[in-house]
């Protein structure tokens, strides 16, 4: 909760004023029974109609002022609750953007999305209701008790008793319900990820005629959700009846005690009516509070889930070193590097050592799951070596300032992903404020110029979520253009031409090679043709480097490389090409 409370700092006036105005409104309500008592004890016995009318006037005035106070309170309350939650949403994004890759992998996307959306929404409703109504309830309850004391101390003790009992009931139910609400939320998460998975995999699911199975699974999850909701409901539903019983027992005791006191001459009939009215107000207030408690309990559960994300450790401590002017630009050194993913058995990359000189081209080749992507992810600092060290421009990546590091590396990921927006906006990711000229140039190098220009709006062509309106190959080329836009010391092409035909890929390679000042370039590929002209080729097999050298050397010394090469270049051993 503390984590959430911090966000109120910006909204102190609103957060204070909302309940304050509510308090003032409630005070007026508490005075009403006293006015009624004076009508019964003075106006009626004396038959004083003018007095009765004047008291009626006071009650009407209370109503007008109360309206103004309440509206003001609602306004501040809305501003505070919504402002706080908007800030929390922004902070959540910041937090998520600072989590390490390992953390992101282990938490999972869908729960983060739920927390940032529906959980925050529920929290917002909860805060709003708390400010507007929940804080008011204890005030009215205790205020009624104080007013009761001014009337008759002995009867007021009944008030104290019933309030204590009611608090036990309310909080007892609240505390029992909250942990169960968490279970409900978890089940809801399950429904969410089931729906999301179905939508993202719709083609495969339909191809495998899985519609019915999917429906059955989804229904299973909603049924489970309903079961948990009902279980919580059984607890929450006890609130109203329990309070009703408690208050009416108090009414019975009150009337009985009142009768004795009136008989003894220490109380008047009007005062008994006033006390009874105050007790009714307490009941009304507590019933309201009881209903709120259900909503607030939900909101609190959501708030806990939200603050759990906000409190997450980023996973890695960031370094702060930045290379000085004299440092090399684009020098990568691996010293006996091994890496295992969290919870994984075997390391994905083991015992890799090599040096990539600035401006050189490094090819990484190997079988599926041989650790190629993992290797290049270590260069970009996305993950950190478990054993050994990776140095970038002479600085250990673990000590490198992450922002500075990423500004030096440009990546084309294996799975080409575009962000929704326009082509231009995607390209601007690489270089904010870039000019049209630069974009066209990058698109041309990436062999994407033709199809971009054939689109109706050219650079301003909209890009749907995940680049849905572009084919796989087009996405890859746009992703390459985006990476080319970014000024960098190291460029990583992670198997990023797999959806391109050979002709296009060859043109792309030629265009890349003909650029004037080339960064150190890592090319991960399945195709020997893509990397055989590299200055250094790293051959991986199940995470281990089985060959590091130039094409000519590897074809002689490395059996794995030779095999890859032969399967692709039938009958041509490529000897001639290597020299």
């Amino acid at each position: 909760m503390k984590t959430i409370l911090r966000y109120f700092r910006k909204y102190v006036p609103e957060t204070v004023l909302a309940p304050l105005f509510k308090f003032m409104e409630a005070t007026l309500e508490l005075l009403v029974p006293l006015v009624i008592a004076s009508i019964i004890d003075r106006g009626i016995p004396e038959g004083d109609k003018a007095f009765i009318l004047s008291r009626g006037g006071i009650l009407a005035a209370f109503a007008v002022v109360g309206l103004a106070l309440a509206i003001t309170a609602q306004y501040f309350s809305a501003r505070s609750a919504i402002g706080v939650c908007a800030d929390i949403r922004a902070s959540l994004l910041d937090k998520i953007q600072s989590l390490s890759y390992g953390r992101l992998d282990s938490i999972g996307v869908s729960t983060l999305v739920t927390r940032m959306t529906s959980d925050v929404n529920t929290l917002q409703t909860g805060i709003n209701l708390t400010l507007r109504l929940l804080l008011r309830s204890p005030f009215v309850v205790f205020g009624a008790m104080i007013v009761a004391f001014t009337i008759d101390a002995k009867c007021a003790l009944i008030f104290a008793g019933v309030i204590a009992v009611l608090l036990v009931i309310v909080f007892g139910i609240l505390l029992t319900a909250i942990p169960r609400h968490r279970g409900v939320q978890k089940a809801l998460d399950g429904v969410t990820s089931s729906a999301r998975e179905n939508l993202t995999g719709v083609r495969v699911l339909r191809a495998f005629l899985q519609e019915e199975t999917e429906i059955k699974e989804f229904e299973g999850r909603t049924r489970r959700l309903e079961k948990l909701q009902l279980a919580v409901g059984r607890i929450s539903a006890a609130l109203n009846p329990a309070t009703l019983v408690a208050v009416n027992i108090a009414v019975i005791v009150l009337i009985h005690t009142g009768a004795l006191r009136v008989d003894a001459g220490t109380l008047t009939q009007g005062q008994v009516v006033a006390l009874y009215n105050l007790l009714s107000q307490i009941l009304v207030e507590l019933v309201k509070m009881a209903n709120l408690v259900i909503t607030i309990a939900k909101a609190a559960a959501c708030g806990a889930r939200v603050s759990a994300v906000l409190r997450l450790e980023n996973g890695e401590t960031d370094g702060s070193s930045i290379p000085d002017e004299a440092a090399p630009r684009g020098l990568i050194e691996f010293a006996d590097v091994s890496f295992s993913y969290e919870n994984a058995g075997a390391p994905s990359v083991a015992g890799v050592s090599f040096t990539a000189r600035p401006g050189s081209v490094i090819g990484v080749i190997g079988g599926t799951g041989s650790g190629k992507t993992t290797l290049v992810n270590l260069i970009a600092g996305f993950y950190r070596a478990t054993v050994g060290s990776v140095h970038f421009d002479g600085i250990d990546i673990a000590e490198f300032d992450p922002a500075a590091l990423r500004s030096r590396v440009s990546v084309v990921p294996q799975k080409a992903v575009l962000l929704s927006g326009t082509i231009r906006e995607n390209l601007e990711m690489g270089r904010p404020g870039a000019g049209e000229e630069e974009m066209l140039c990058a698109l041309e190098t990436a062999q994407a110029l033709d199809f971009v220009q054939s689109r109706e709006k050219g650079l301003d062509e909209p890009v749907l979520r995940a680049g849905g309106n572009f084919s796989g190959g087009q996405k890859q080329r746009l992703a390459i253009a985006r990476a080319l836009m970014k000024p960098c010391e190291v460029l990583i092409l992670d198997d990023s031409t797999s959806a391109l035909d050979y002709a296009t890929e060859a043109k792309l390679r030629a265009a890349l090679a003909s650029r004037e000042s080339a960064p150190t370039t890592f090319i991960v590929s399945q195709r020997a043709a893509s990397i055989r002209n590299a200055d250094l080729i790293i051959v991986l097999d199940e995470g281990r480097p089985v060959g590091i050298g130039r094409h000519g050397e590897l074809i002689k010394n490395c059996a794995v490389y030779r095999e890859i090469y032969r399967t692709q270049f039938r009958g041509d051993d490529g000897e001639g090409a290597a020299s």
């Binding site: 019964i40 109609k49 009318l53 109503a63 109360g66 309440a70 609602q74 919504i82 908007a86 949403r89 992101l104 996307v109 983060l112 940032m116 809801l188 969410t192 729906a195 939508l199 995999g201 719709v202 083609r203 495998f208 989804f218 909603t222 049924r223 009902l230 409901g233 059984r234 539903a237 009846p241 009703l244 009416n248 009414v251 019975i252 009337i255 009985h256 009939q269 009714s280 009304v284 993913y341 190997g366 079988g367 599926t368 970009a380 996305f382 990423r406 500004s407 440009s410 929704s420 990711m429 749907l464 796989g472 985006r482 970014k486 198997d495 959806a499 050979y502 002709a503 399967t567 039938r570």
Partner: protein, 592 residues
């Protein structure tokens, strides 16, 4: 000619809450018995609760002044109060249980209805919808609907009951004052509905912006790694900040407007209370009422107005719920795909011949893609489709599998128009491996057995072995029982692709579609997979989209596509001899 793309809807539709309510009521019918029980329980609970102030009023009349208290009459009255309270509480609790059952039941079946509807929506309708937005309808909107419905049930029923009951009691005590109350109270309702009408629109606006924010948050979280790689965090923050700010503005407006209902109705009620106090007191002086009667009346004035408060509060909440329900119904009522024909034709079991006859197709009417395309593939033939990226190869597969329907012409499988058979019959004859490897959250075993859930462990392992996935699966922490997370967890693209291939291998369909199936597998593995595929493809019609020419050299027919047209057709040798576009493509593969 039928167009499967839905007509564009106007941005702001005339939002019709009455229609939404009608649809909700239809769904409530299944819970008729429970609804009646809820109603009866609320009658019992309300009647007993209302009896209490009358009893208390009588009790107060027993307490005149010092020395004039009627204890013998007071005692049975107080026992009555206790009995009423106990019974009312019991009825109230049961009603709560019933209401929960109804609400959560309705929302569950709505969610299920929406979900199974999605399974029947054409991809042309699903593809343009952002996943996050659809998920938000299924989850957040349905949730808010549940909240609204629950409030509606627990407070609307009781509210109305209380009003009716109170009126009856008041009329029995003093018709004149009761009449005054009745005349004033509609004011409260009028104001509530006045505000609600104005609130509805801003709730709708809020829901729209909220959907946008959800979609953006979803995207930024899903693509977090990409964002990180490009140092895009500040821009992502800015863009989300802008939507967040808009959401804040709309929410403040919607929330504030809706929260006006309560104070306004309370204001009217306070005026009524004052009126009752004055009129009642005057009536006591005139001898028409006792002080206990006045006390009961004042309680009623409170209780009578309270439901108005609640009802108007509920109305505001319901506005929000209705806006959500409307979005949910919009999804449920989105046009379904053209239903399967009935009776449907079955293509002959052994016949896997496929024929395209003058097929026309485009995703958007403005951009023509495939025009007058014809092709005849004999049973068991292997068709390779090659061509530059974006030339329409994937589209061809969308059409064969009927993910999209053709605009003109027809496609025949085994001599039967694919539209004359069920989609299930059509799709069960094809095994498909797509460019984007998709695995479901579940175990490796479940993923492989997707096409044949009844497969034995031995069969699953045999399929994995056949595509050389067995080795890496065995190395996973729990082997075949390893649970894959969202989008395949930590498996590499190639490993995921192997699983996708194993999935088809196990299902043994009569025809195959392989879209870029081997793009992420290294050539060593590919060679082995090719071998397995070759055995699988024997006697089976297959369509292979691949860029690796080595994989298609053995094809019976090679289709060379460009801009949606087939520009060359023939086997490898013929096409090489011809010296056209294919030869050019082939030779660039070995370009240095």
């Amino acid at each position: 000619m039928k167009k499967s793309l839905p007509a564009k809807k106007p941005a702001v539709r005339a939002k019709n809450s009455r229609a939404v309510i009608k649809k909700l009521i239809v769904r409530l019918r299944a819970h008729r018995a429970a609804a009646i029980a809820s109603l009866l329980l609320s009658v019992v609970s309300v009647a007993l609760t209302l009896l209490i102030p009358v009893l208390v009023g009588r009790g107060i009349d027993c307490i005149k002044e010092a020395g004039r208290v009627d204890f013998p009459s007071l005692r049975p009255i107080l026992i009555g109060v206790g009995a009423c309270a106990a019974l009312a509480a019991a009825a109230n609790y049961l009603m709560g249980l019933v209401n929960n059952r109804i609400t959560y039941g309705v929302v569950r079946s709505l969610r299920n209805e929406a979900f199974s509807h999605i399974q029947r929506m054409p991809l042309s309708a699903l593809d343009p919808r952002p996943v996050g937005e659809t998920v938000s309808r299924l989850i957040a909107d349905a949730d808010q609907l549940a909240d609204g419905l629950l409030l509606g049930f627990s407070q609307l029923f009781t509210g109305v009951m209380t009003i009716v009951g109170t009126l009856a009691f008041m009329l029995s005590i003093d018709p004149l004052i009761a009449a005054a109350v009745v005349l004033l109270s509609p004011l409260s309702l009028l104001m509530a509905s006045f505000i609600a009408k104005r609130t509805y629109k801003s709730f709708l606006d809020q829901a729209v912006v909220r959907g946008e924010a959800t979609s953006l948050a979803d995207e930024y979280i899903t693509e977090q790694k990409l964002i990180r790689a490009f140092g895009y965090e500040p821009t992502a923050k800015k863009r989300f900040g802008a939507v967040n700010e808009r959401l804040r503005r709309h929410s403040v407006r919607a929330t504030f407007l809706s929260s006006l209902t309560n104070p306004t109705t309370r204001f009217v009620n306070s005026l009524i209370y004052a009126g009752v106090a004055v009129l009642g007191a005057l009536s006591v002086i005139g001898g028409g009422l006792t002080v206990g009667g006045l006390s009961a009346f004042l309680s009623y004035a409170n209780q009578y107005t309270k439901p108005f408060n609640e009802i108007s509060g509920v109305v505001a909440e319901l506005q929000g719920a209705l806006a959500c329900a409307e979005r949910l119904f919009e999804l449920i009522e989105a046009p379904e795909q053209v239903p399967d024909p009935d009776p449907a034709l079955e293509p002959e079991a052994g016949d896997g011949s496929v024929e395209f006859k003058n097929v026309d197709f485009s995703y958007t009417p403005e951009r023509e893609l495939i025009r007058d395309f014809s092709l005849s593939v004999k049973n068991g033939q292997r068709v390779a489709i090659v061509g530059p990226t974006g030339c329409g190869k994937t589209t061809l597969i969308n059409l064969i599998m009927r993910f999209y329907d053709t605009d003109g012409g027809e496609i025949r499988l085994g001599g039967v128009n694919t539209r004359a058979m069920t989609r299930a019959a059509l799709r069960s004859r094809f095994g498909m491996v797509l460019q984007e490897t998709w695995l479901r959250a579940g175990t490796v075993r479940e993923n492989i057995a997707m096409g044949r859930p009844d497969a034995t462990d031995e069969e699953v392992i045999a399929a994995a072995k056949a595509v050389h996935a067995h080795a890496f699966i065995s190395r996973l922490p729990q082997g075949y029982d390893t649970v894959l997370g969202e989008s395949g967890g930590t498996l590499s693209q190639g490993q995921r692709q192997l699983l996708c291939i194993a999935r088809v291998m196990l299902a043994l369909p009569p025809a195959l579609i392989l879209d870029e199936a081997t793009s992420s597998i290294d050539t060593r593995t590919e060679l082995i997979v090719q071998d397995a595929f070759a055995r699988l493809m024997k006697g089976r019609t297959s369509f292979i989209v691949a860029h690796r020419l080595s994989t298609i050299r053995d094809a019976d027919v090679i289709l060379v596509m460009r801009d949606g047209h087939i520009i060359e057709k023939g086997n490898h040798d013929e096409l090489m001899k011809k010296g056209g576009f294919y030869r050019e493509l082939y030779e660039t593969q070995f370009a240095k």
